[in-house]
Every structure is written in C-alpha cells, then in structure tokens.
Amino acid sequence: MNTLINVRGLAKTFVLHHRDEARIPVLENVSLDVAAGECVALAGPSGAGKSTLLRCLYGNYLASAGSIRIRHEGRWVDLARATPRDILAVRRKSLGYVSQFLRVIPRVSTLDVVAEPLRELGTDAAAARERAAELLDRLHLPQRLWSLPPATFSGGEQQRVNIARGLIAEKPVLLLDEPTASLDVANAGRVAQLVDEARQRGAAVVGIFHDPAIRDRLATRLFAVEAQLLELAA
C-alpha cells in the first residue's frame, strides 16, 4: 500500500486564554493512515472535531501532540514539526485543501483564481488558464462569470470555483470540507465525479460529506471522529 498520510497520536486542545483559560479538548490520540486511491470520509456528530482534524492535516491548526506525516517528494514531512517554509512547499506540491468557503482575493478573475495553484508549480499562464476553463466548464460554471472576481458570486458558484481551484493541480493528497454543501443535486454530482476521478488517478482523499448519497458514492472507508468529553476549566 502506498500510504500518503500517516497520523499518530494526534491531539488537539484549544486553550482560550481570555475565557478563563478554558481548555477545549477536541482530538485525543487520533491515528490514521490513508493510502493512494482511498477516500476516507470523516464521520461524527456536529462539533466532534471533523473540521479540526482536517485543518490539522493541512497544517492550519497546530497539533497539541502527535505527528502528522504527509508524503512529499518521496519523503515524509511531519506538519506538526515542519517549518512554515516546508509546510508551504508541501501544500504547493503535495497537499490540497478545499475549505467550505472561498477566500476571495480582491480583483483577481475567477479563471486566474482557479489557475493559480498550477501557476505556482510553474505552468505557464495560458496553459493554466486553459486547464482552469476545462474544469469550470465541467462544473457548469457559466462562462460569462469566468472573467469576474468571484466576490459577488452565489454560494454554490463560489464553492465550485473553490473546488476547481483545489483540484486543478492534481495534488496527491486532497482534503475536502463539505465540498458539496451549497450545491444542488446535479452540481453536487459533477463535483463528486471530479473527486472520484482524482481518487482513481491515485490521490489520497480525506473528506467531510454531510450528504449521505455523496458520502456513499465517494467514500471507500469511514473514519469515526469521536467527541471528547468537555472538561472546561473552572
């Protein structure tokens, strides 16, 4: 098995210094391996820590304990210990994350927002835009929107832009936080199709899918994220 994600003993506790030092334990001793060609769906009730786990896997949240190793250029990089420079290098090449909401960059056109991850890998502008156009087309984003910045788009339109941006560079590890949450059935199906293709070409996918139909279609395995007992400081 070609393991691309290797998590051991991951813990995450938030400490809120201005709320009487409240401690919020969210993840405790999480271990998880994900291989190329797998799609692991995180399962658990609201607040269980699914998004927290995903953000830790991206290096966006700092692990309180444990290791988060991601396969990058033939070696392991532990995001819990890596320097910012190394984390950025892993993200650029090996690790993609589709957040629930698009963070809009002022003035940049949709086509360029989508093309950017490819450009970062050295693809020239024309080729990157061409690929972006193909993806947006497959996601049925109306062509008249492509030259506009996505700031004014509807939730579902922004989400599709976000997905296209997340998939374009074909990174080996993909993290998806509810990629179809704001989409109608037809559009959700198109997104699912692209995610499935990414998995079939060998990506290791970890996702949160609230829609059971989408989850059943995409997931090769479920991973239960259990809510930790809250032990709030007095």
């Binding site: 210094h17 290096g59 966006n60 949240y61 700092l62 910012p84 420079r85 950025l88 002022p106 003035r107």
Partner: protein, 256 residues
C-alpha cells in the same frame, strides 16, 4: 538553501522605553514575512534596525551578499551599505512623500534608482521607467509629471515602481496600505501580491492590518512591547493563535 537574512538577538532601547528586545529570525529568498502588533509594539523600529537606518544596541543582522556569504551589516562600509539600500534592497515608506522625490518627475523617480545600478542610456532608462509605470497601473503618458499631482494611491504605486525597478532581492515595507481608501488598498494589495510572486522577492512587511498580513505574508511575526510573542505560518497563527496577546489581536477584528 541559505537564508537571505539572518537576524539574531536584535535589541534597541530608547532610554527606559524598549524599542526591540531580542528579536531573531531567518528570512529565505522569496519569503514574505509580515510583522503585526499594536502601534508602539516596535514594528517600525525593527524595520529601521534591519535596514541599518538605526544602529542596534545588541544583536546582529546578517545579509547574504553574492560571493561573500552572510555578512554582518554592522561591518559594512558606509559606501557598501548605501549601495545595498539603493540597488539590492527596496524600502517602501508608509508615507509615499518620504520615499519619493516630490520635486522631480515620476519618470525620474523611477530612473534614479536605475542610474544607481549603472544604467546610463537615457532612452533606455526612460523606456524602462515607462514600462514600470504601466506595471504599477500608472498611465505612462504621465512620465514627465511631478508626483505632487498624483493621488495618495498613485504616489504609493509610484514608490513601489521606484523601489522594484532595480529588481531588489529584499524589500522592506512599512504599513504600505495605511492611509489609503479601502478600494485603493485592494488594488495596491493585489498589485503587491502579484509583483512579489512574479519577481520572487523576499520582503518584510510591517502592518497593523491582519487582512494585509494574511494576503501577503507567508510567515507572521507577532510583536508586543518590542518582543516577538508568537511566530509561525500565517494562516496557522491567525486561525489558531496560541499566545494570549495574539488571541486578543485576532478576536478584536471582525474577520480576516
């Protein structure tokens, strides 16, 4: 890869007041470091120390000089420091009037730095200056106008052109978007983001605006009372701040 800049134990006092205390970090080629913190936290002092405009009480700033390795800036001659500041470095001031020469034309403002690197051919200098005006979205037809007639946003873009025309390896920026209208800020930010990426610049950007830090910075340094209280990957520090001061800073803005 070797760092471009290595800072160790940098400290400066102004009488009883602490300007900077024991600041250290490495900056790599192409890396953008954003320095955030409330006003008076020592951000601008740090920038002045880094760019040798102010002498430190203690500590070292070392810079990678081609062929010489990391050189302690305190050991450079005055001429060498001036050469660095004019060609290999850029410094974008908060107030463009401090960074531009207001009594010479826009074209001369850009051309001047080129001449410092040895350019002599008038036609070529003019052509390059004109290109750079276009690059920062200023009308090249205004090449011969004085910057006094430009708006604040235009002056700031001209200052950026003046600094980048020599293709510096390192740029310092002090609150580059402060004092501009929000709509003008967005344009400037987008432009800076594009230029920094295209030119592979390393930069230290001081800002009190966390949105600016998020958009431009790869890495964040949070300062309080002259000290670095937290440092790390920009989105990690902003989304999962560890230090009480950073938590306060992040929670006091609406959304970044």
């Amino acid at each position: 890869m070797n760092p471009l800049l290595r800072v160790e134990g940098l400290s400066k006092r102004f009488g009883e007041h602490i300007g900077c205390a024991d600041v250290g970090f490495d900056l790599y080629p192409g890396e953008v470091l954003a320095v955030v913190g409330e006003s008076g936290s020592g951000k601008s002092t740090l920038l002045k120390l880094l760019s040798t405009r102010l002498a430190a009480d203690a500590g070292h700033v070392r810079y990678q000089i081609t062929g010489r390795g990391l050189v302690d800036l305190a050991e450079l001659s005055e001429a060498e420091r001036r050469w660095l500041l004019r060609t290999d470095w850029g410094f974008v001031e908060q107030n463009p009037r401090d960074g531009l020469r207001m009594n010479v034309s826009a074209g001369a403002n850009v051309g001047e730095r080129l001449m410092a690197t040895g350019a002599r051919h008038y036609g070529q200098i003019r052509a390059t200056a004109s290109d750079w005006l276009a690059r920062v979205e200023l009308d090249p037809a205004r090449l011969d106008e004085l910057p006094t007639g430009f708006s604040g946003g235009m002056q700031q873009r001209l200052q950026i052109a003046r600094n980048l025309v020599t293709r510096p390896r390192l740029v310092f920026m002090d609150e580059p978007t402060a004092g501009l209208d929000v709509s003008v800020q967005a344009r400037l930010l987008d432009l800076m983001r594009e230029l920094v990426t295209d030119l592979g610049l390393a930069a230290v950007i001081v800002t009190h605006d966390l949105a600016v830090a998020r958009l431009l910075g790869h890495r964040l340094l949070v300062m309080r009372r002259g000290r670095v209280v937290e440092t790390g990957l920009t989105d990690q520090v902003l989304d999962d701040p560890q230090h009480p001061y950073t938590q306060l800073l992040v929670s006091s803005v609406l959304q970044v």
